[in-house]
């Protein structure tokens, strides 16, 4: 099961180019301008692409591409018409209720599977099945069960997101070093204390890696549900403007959906840094053993 955990960004190797300067070799000095260049390259890249988009977009049919400037003005129009803000909040609500449920249910299930081999054996076939199934195909079934309202959108969001949370929590709980389990035995921790004080904290880095993946999937679920189930929120805006060939408005909706995603990532990182500052730090095991 371990091979199914994607993107374990527990340790960061991003310091490499900062460190190279300390070597003090003449080469380091000639690196300096290129380092500044590296820093502004992303900005330059984005500006160039926006410029090209403006150039090309203003020369072809606006239905095909539109331009950055008209996308921005569409954005302004949608706000002043009172369309975008409510749609944004609908999207946020759909996303966070669905994703929130996925977090709670996913962690609980993952812990259960991690602590009990019986639970693991019972649940494993379903986890495998749903991991492999294109869950979007279940949307019509969700509509049959839940109708076309808020509950259905939450259900789609939840169903897409929950599996990554379950699997990463499970692997995190299972990866608890045996020495820490020994510690729990020696100090006579109760079954609940073993989970709350040892295995669950041990799983936190894995859980956050899973939440990053699950957030992406929840975003997709939320948008699909708003496009296909209710035609509301940001997904609804995108669908409607697409159907009426108003590309600038459609793109403004898409970019607002990106903002929803970016806010989600920022929130996850804030929670991680505020409440779990030790995530990513070397554990005593790794430091002392060789």
């Amino acid at each position: 099961m371990a091979d199914r955990v994607a993107s374990m960004s527990v340790t960061s190797f991003g310091v490499a180019d900062e460190v190279s300067d300390d070597l003090g070799e003449p080469k380091a000095r000639s690196d300096r301008p290129s380092r500044n260049l590296k820093r502004i390259l992303p900005v330059v890249s984005v500006l160039v692409v926006l410029g090209l988009w403006q150039l090309i977009g203003s020369r072809i049919n606006p239905i095909l591409l539109s331009t950055p400037t008209s996308t921005i003005s569409a954005f302004g129009h949608m706000i002043s018409r009172g369309q975008l803000i409510p749609a944004f909040f609908t999207a946020m609500e759909d996303l966070w209720v669905g994703f929130g449920l996925a977090i709670v249910v996913g962690i609980a299930t993952g812990v259960l599977m991690g602590r009990s081999e019986v639970a693991e054996k019972i649940l494993d076939p379903y986890i495998n099945f749903f991991q492999a199934t294109p869950l979007i195909a279940l949307v019509p079934l969700v509509v049959i069960w839940f109708g076309v309202g808020f509950e259905a959108r939450v259900a789609v969001t939840f169903v897409l997101a929950v599996w990554s949370v379950i699997i990463n929590t499970f692997v995190g709980v299972r990866s608890t070093p045996s020495a820490l389990i020994d510690v729990a035995s020696i100090y006579k921790l109760s079954r609940w204390e073993v989970v709350s004080k040892i295995t669950l904290p041990n799983a936190v880095p894995y859980i956050f890696a899973g939440l990053r993946i699950a957030l992406g999937k929840a975003l997709i679920g939320m948008l699909i549900a708003e496009m296909e189930v209710s035609v509301t929120g940001l997904g609804g805006l995108v669908t409607n403007y697409g159907n009426s060939f108003q590309t600038a408005y459609l793109l403004a909706g898409v970019f607002t959906a990106s903002v929803v995603g970016v806010i989600g990532v920022i929130l996850l990182n804030l929670v991680k840094r505020r409440f779990f500052p030790w995530v990513g730090a070397t554990t005593s095991e790794q430091q002392v053993r060789f």
Partner: protein, 271 residues
């Protein structure tokens, strides 16, 4: 004479490993440990010394003989024991203070919150961790981490202290300094101590008796007494020819066994 605190009689243990059949980890191991005694178990990798220590702590079962601690047969983790693990085994997400307080889990309810706090503070003082209470384990050196491991084991005031190569992963200088501190701290607690090590000098410096083990099957080769008063001062201790004699004796026992078995296949079991 007082009854021994730990009584080991004819203890045996085998591990089953697939087709190759059973590996005999321990065979007919017997010895006693008296109250307040400091004994070391020494031997090459695979002699079962850690397995034996884990049995005292109730972490591993045995399938022959009996182990008694304070008169009662060990089944599960005994009360009032402290265990110091090889690589400290601290919880990376807890501060030094909270890691030490974990040692009081088994006696919570008995102690009031303020008693608990003063116990942890006292351990921090005793193990030289003052000023590091709020540090996280990864911010500490290996030696400091092992001090936390020791404080956690001592905070519940155990009458039996079990240590599994606690200094094994440290550099030579840190190791020597911690040996002295360890001796002083343990002497103050008056706990009966079993100390697993693969370092002959360490065993001689710390112990009242040294149990030298052989491997394949793991068994007691000889028990060597170190008849010198404590506290011991390293500088005087090292120069003493009588100490050197004992050291050579233990070293000979360990290496003789190693040499005689040099041709046999290397066993790859946890020590």
């Amino acid at each position: 004479m007082e009854a021994p605190v730990i009584e080991v009689s004819h203890v045996g243990k085998r591990f089953w490993q697939g087709k190759s059949g059973a590996f005999i980890a321990l065979k007919d191991v017997s010895f006693n440990v008296g109250k307040g005694e400091f004994i070391s178990i020494i031997g090459a990798s695979g002699c079962g010394k850690t397995t034996l220590l884990r049995m005292f702590g109730g972490l591993t079962t045995y399938d022959a003989g009996s182990i008694k601690i304070r008169g009662s047969v060990v089944r599960g983790v005994p009360d009032r024991i402290g265990f110091v693990f090889q690589a400290a085994a601290l919880l990376p997400w807890r501060s030094v203070w909270d890691n030490i307080a974990l040692g009081l889990t088994a006696v919570k309810g008995v102690l009031s919150e303020s008693e608990k706090r003063s116990r942890v503070d006292a351990q921090i003082e005793l193990t030289g961790l003052k000023g590091f209470e709020q540090s996280l384990p990864h911010q500490l050196s290996g030696g400091m981490q092992q001090r936390v491991g020791l404080a956690r084991a001592l905070v519940a005031e155990p009458s039996v202290l079990l240590m599994d190569e606690p200094l094994g992963a440290l550099d030579a200088f840190t190791r020597m300094r911690l040996q002295e501190e360890l001796a002083a701290i343990v002497a103050r607690t008056e706990a009966t101590t079993v100390f697993v090590t693969h370092d002959v000098d360490e065993a001689v410096f710390l112990s009242d008796r040294i149990i030298v083990m052989e491997r394949a099957p793991g068994r007691v080769n000889q028990i060597v007494t170190v008849p010198f008063d404590k506290p011991r001062v390293r500088r005087e201790f090292i120069g003493d020819p009588k100490v050197a004699h004992i050291r050579d004796e233990v070293l000979a026992l360990v290496t003789e066994e190693l040499l005689s078995r040099a041709s046999t296949t290397e066993t790859a079991f946890r020590t």
